[in-house]
Symmetry: C2
Subunit: 206 residues, 2 copies
DNA sequence: TAATCAATAGACCATATGGGGTATTTTTCG
DNA sequence: CGAAAAATACCCCATATGGTCTATTGATTA
């Protein structure tokens, strides 16, 4: 059974080349191609493809927004971004929107076809460099200035526990909890719970 | 120039097989192998390798902790986890600790060698299934129950702004800000700023 | 050994926060 | 059009929070 592919790409030439490539390759068919997300959203429901190749820079709705909306309606479809943009924002926003793969437009035809199969089989096709950027985004800040006890308490701050609850859980007085929290705030350069929680999560301090 | 590899693996047989595989392959050398992180931390400084293959289940310090400590001291080293564990926690904790690749022990020898080269050249080797899990972790919850205004206010809550500051920024009364925040708490099923901030960040509501 | 840091505990006090209401106007949508 | 949702604004009140300050004990380390 062929993998059915749709293309959303505003450059007519690229769109036709892609369509031709896919249709002429055994194991793949491309019945649908669109030059913007709006038309795709209208038409696609009649015959949803299994894989969508999506450009980012499109007239009207961006490809990222397009993925968000289409993925909402058709969660089974796998999306591969196919774009010239390789800034971090484009990459991470695409993944957040629901894309499963991210390729640059200079990807060789053979790799592109292989990537369509990979994403269809449950993988996440992307270049080595992009994979590394994604993996690196998990990297925890190595310089956590908080003591073990402070981390313990910060963890509970993030849960929304108040002084008394934390004190009871740790079998210490509320005064001590306050003292720790004040130290945490000093070390993190914040002045409120909200900021502390944000920093704790964003900098992976807990 | 050969890529120098070190192995940290407590199973003697696997360790020797790996060493043999690497040393007998042109382009790779394995001068160092350890059966726990502690000895690696002691010895490795004399001749830091370029790539480390790290098991997770080790006597004493876990491979994940080992990566954290080694990566801190030797940021240039690329770490590939080589393990039988494939639960989400092991994967994400490894990446947070500083690993750049994640392979299962049943990875074929050719793929393993290729992966060492990939990570050395700045990629992030891993199986298709694991790549997909990592990519999927970015996926935003599609059902954001908050109105635009509420998101606006939640964003500022996360900044640590208090009622008055938010009110001034949005040119509305503090009462209105409070009303919005009460609605936000209801919709998110939380009862405090800290919980709201956590939910906002974790569920990518802003 | 002296000094520093972490953990513990407490006091005082102004202000921010959250829970409970009610009410009007505008926008959105079936 | 009419209902529902969103945005606006206000009330009361108990409690949580954060700033500033002091102080003791045990561990770590320079």
């Amino acid at each position: 059974m062929d993998i059915s592919v749709a293309i959303i790409e505003d450059d007519r030439e690229i769109r036709q080349l892609m369509t031709l490539l896919i249709d002429s390759s055994p194991g793949y068919t491309c019945q649908q191609s669109f030059n913007d997300c709006e038309s795709a959203l209208e038409v696609i429901r009649k015959d949803p493809p299994e894989v969508v190749l999506m450009d980012i820079d499109l007239p009207g709705m961006s490809g990222i927004e397009g993925v968000r909306l289409l993925k909402q309606q058709y969660p089974e479809i796998d999306f591969i971004m196919l774009t010239i943009k390789e800034d971090d924002d484009s990459i991470f926003d695409s993944l957040c929107a629901g894309a499963s793969g991210y390729l640059l437009k200079d990807t060789p035809p053979a790799t592109l076809l292989e990537s369509i199969r990979v994403v269809y089989e449950g993988g996440a096709p992307m270049s080595a460099a992009i994979a590394r950027r994604i993996v690196s985004s998990f990297r925890t800040a190595p310089d956590n200035p908080l003591s073990a006890r402070e981390q313990e308490i910060l963890r509970r701050l993030c849960e929304g526990d108040n002084y008394k609850v934390i004190a009871d859980q740790l079998c210490i007085s509320g005064h001590t909890v306050r003292a720790h929290i004040k130290n945490i705030y000093k070390k993190l350069h914040v002045t409120s719970r909200a900021e502390a929680v944000r920093k704790a999560i964003n900098d992976k301090l807990i």
